[in-house]
Symmetry: C2
Subunit: 206 residues, 2 copies
DNA sequence: TCCAGAATGGACATATAGTCCACGGCGTGG
DNA sequence: CCACGCCGTGGACTATATGTCCATTCTGGA
């Protein structure tokens, strides 16, 4: 905290009011300090970092930028860095979360100028929805720091929720591809999906 | 030309170098005047307006904004207006084409700031691909100024080409929906599609 | 009026989407 | 150590969607 605190503060000041900077304690899995908090998190709260491989000196030390979603729909660009003392021991994890909403609003203003009634008829669907699946899965894997093979049942459920929300399964041949990416069988896929959609009757307006 | 010319010039001056303003003669189907031309068109060249219903006093007089694509890939926002004399006779058609490229570049700069490695994991696919189909069809209809029912075979072929290029048919249930939007039967749809993909072996990397 | 090309509905064949179930691994607690 | 429950798996099976084909009807032009 004494060594890394100024770093966090400096980044927070530089990036202005739209960047949240968090210093985590990887051992206690708690928040050490936080600047410009976006939620209600404060020092001492659990980090929810997952494992992040922070303890493995051979692992990568910088993650992202990847994307996070806040409950209110704001999109964040996030980067994380593992901070080590001279011995190589991870003493802290620094996370910077930049709220992209204002930037996107500005971009939208520009795009809307003289815009056709609907913005982009051309690039249309993700041509490469397969890679998109890989990306969603990959993002989750990075978030919890475990390779695909070691994902828990709950993890896979969460990934499937994202994919389903993204209407990935409205694309032909998506189910087998997703099952492959998730290293589970097609049966299991459908099982998890059913479990996911069972409790609350989903809007199936695909 | 004498009455409407100043209007065109004024609009051209207001919108700066990125807006092309064209005055058409709907009877001769020729260009009367053009400011800030984007292509090599000049006065006297054919208008290529299609019918545009300019001669029908009961039809709408303002079209767009809709989207046009230039050969070099630039995207334009276009509006058209039928200009009439006091008797209601259409004496001219005014078209304004705004090059959206610079605006979009600026928007891209903003969006790229702090962007995740891949830009938009969230909104993902067009949730409402059905409306998207309607839009592509609608855009084409506006372009040639004929309602869906009066499209020629070639027109439908062209629309299908756009839809196919946009990988619309990689979405489940798309074929019946498109057939409906185009007011043709599913059989005809597949017939036209086959005709479309037959000559050149398409890249089927969906 | 007749003809050619095109559209149509429906029969059909195939592929894909989902469901279901019996089996086998695996950790847990008795 | 074994029995039990949980979960993943493959495979059979059904339902639905996709794509093909054809006889018929429609339409515009000679």
């Amino acid at each position: 905290m004494r060594t890394w605190g100024p770093v966090g503060q400096a980044v927070a000041l530089l990036l202005g009011p739209y960047a949240e900077v968090v210093l985590h304690d990887p051992d206690a899995d708690r928040i050490l300090a936080i600047w410009n908090p976006m939620g209600s998190r404060g020092p001492g709260d659990p980090s929810l970092l997952g494992e992040l491989d922070a303890l493995d000196p051979s692992a990568r030390d910088v993650f992202g930028p990847y994307e996070k979603l806040l409950a209110d729909g704001r999109r964040l660009s996030s980067v994380s860095a593992v901070l080590r003392d001279p011995d190589g021991k991870a003493t802290a994890v620094l996370c910077v979360n930049l709220d992209r909403t204002p930037l996107e609003q500005a971009a939208a203003v520009l795009s809307a100028f003289g815009a056709p009634t609907t913005p982009r008829p051309e690039p249309l669907f993700e041509q490469d929805w397969n890679e998109r699946v890989q990306h969603i899965v990959g993002a989750y894997v990075r978030e919890c720091g475990r390779p695909v093979e070691r994902l828990t049942r709950a993890d896979r459920l969460a990934v499937l929720a994202r994919l389903d929300e993204a209407r990935v399964f409205a694309v032909r041949r998506a189910a087998p591809a997703v099952a492959g990416a998730l290293r589970i069988s097609r049966s299991t896929l459908y099982g998890l999906l059913a479990e996911l959609r069972a409790p609350s009757a989903k809007d199936h307006t695909a």
